[in-house]
Amino acid sequence: VWFQFHNLQDLRHSASLVTKVFIQRDYSEGTVCRFLTKFPSELDNRIERSLFEETVKTLNSYYIEAEKIGGQSYLEGCLACATAYIAFLCMETRYEQVLKKISGYIQEQNEKVYAPRGLLLTDPIERGMRVLEISVFEDQGSVSSSPSSSMSLAGGSA
């Protein structure tokens, strides 16, 4: 089995970080939060293209939902205005609710898809929505691992 089933905590402490891949924002639709679905070359042999694109597309759809200008956002806006914006102090906005869903989704993706492949997604909100950061760790279960990686493994798992 080429893929080792990693504990996320293990990934962080014992696996050595090879590089970080940054998926940049896609501004073709304006200032709406979207990420490029272009597959980065560094992930070529780490994850299937379709899985990656699926993740990014789902994230994009979540952000579109958060920033949608429609009935609920108007209601929120008018209610808040009527209460001299004191309402914003008390209630959780729709955007925040969707952000919670997004972090849940990212955690789920990390557990199911990315951690087993030695990758880790970082929620864009932690990077100010600038980038989607993917940390690439050394693949510990890899047959083709070089001696240096096993040495780093020994050194890192203290």
Binding site: R12, S16, T31, N110, E126
Partner: protein, 465 residues
Amino acid sequence: MKNCEYQQIDPRALSVSPSSAESHPGKTPPRPRRKWEVFPGKNRFFCDGRLILSRQSGVLPMTLVLIVVTCGLFFTFDCPFLVKHLTVFIPVIGGVLFVFVMASLLRTSFTDPGILPRATADEAADIEKQIDTSGSSSYRPPPRTKEVLINQQVVKLKYCFTCKTFRPPRTSHCSLCDNCVERFDHHCPWVGNCVGKRNYRFFYSFIVSLSFLTSFIFGCVIAHLTLRSQTGESLIQAIQESPASTVVELVICFFSIWSILGLSGFHTYLVASNLTTNEDIKGSWSSKRAGEEHGNPYSYNSIITNCCATLCGPMPPSLIDRRGWLSLEEPIPAASTLEMELPTFAEKNDAEMCAQSTKGVLERAVHSLDFHKLCLPGSPKTTPMGLEGSGSAALSPEPSASAGCAQEPSLRSVVAPCPRFSRGNQRDSLHSVNPAFRLASPSPSLSRAGFVLEDAPEVSFVPLP
């Protein structure tokens, strides 16, 4: 090969610390700190990070005093008379307006305007790699721009040397707060904060409600004097009865009305066309640009939709996470770890440092100009403009006159990149990364606003060894 027991870990709790050698200078502090305590921008925080204000809080105290004093005088001296002679709703309406004005003002001042946190060192390194700096180290690297297509229109994204990231569209770097702010409108000294994506609606409701309040108080004071003079006393006697309050209120309201009404009108126009003050002043989407089809790519081409999108759109969250705890391994944002970056960034460091030193020169020039150009509503300086422009005060064609706030944003693009200022290249700015010495986007507004900054970059600054 070890068998791992699978556990649920919250990815948010994981901050993958890079293996490259950047860390806190010195030992880690014994007590856990919140992120606002190490925030790199020029901001002040209150209530343990809940409230944020610009370090240059400008004349916010004066704004508060003016509003409170005027309303206080109104409620004390005019209301009793008017309640007796007119209606009891006068103080009620006044009270409601006052509450609205104060709430909007405080929300505008203490809300994060949409500050973009600075890039982490890894991100900055990644962007560095992607930019082709094919120059020798004898001259500074060219300023960086990236072009994107938004609604079939080419928009240039500029690289911010302070925040080490390409600014999203409509984002601008405020020199007073030293932050990139999304959908940057302007830095308002009256409010003591930048006005950006997250607090624009509060700002707009502040100026609109303030217009109503000042007009209301003005009308009530006039009504008060009129009624007094009708009940047998002459006008002079009526003024003498309550000298201080009436005169003070009249003076304050009279001058405020012109500027605030003008400002409200101007911002209503901006809201209806989905523009920011910054874009309007720079003329980014004006039709005067030669040869290109320039419309506002962000506009929905419907006034109602534009208004709703700007004022009633979803409220985005604050990106800077002020009250989060600083994890001990977390690297401090890129700007402060400049010195520890890898040697390959020497060229970029040069650019950063030279931008910083020139920034100092320009900032001094800006501040000296500020005091002259600042259109203070209510101050004697603006009254000639207000009076003679009274007919067209609502939508003045010269935004810098009616804007009422310092035109800081137009200068930002001059300060940020490494400057060799050549204004001749402004118009043909569709070419990306030009290895010749030229600014990313020297702002044409400089000529319009009459700032004499073209010469400032020629002031000698210490070249780096």
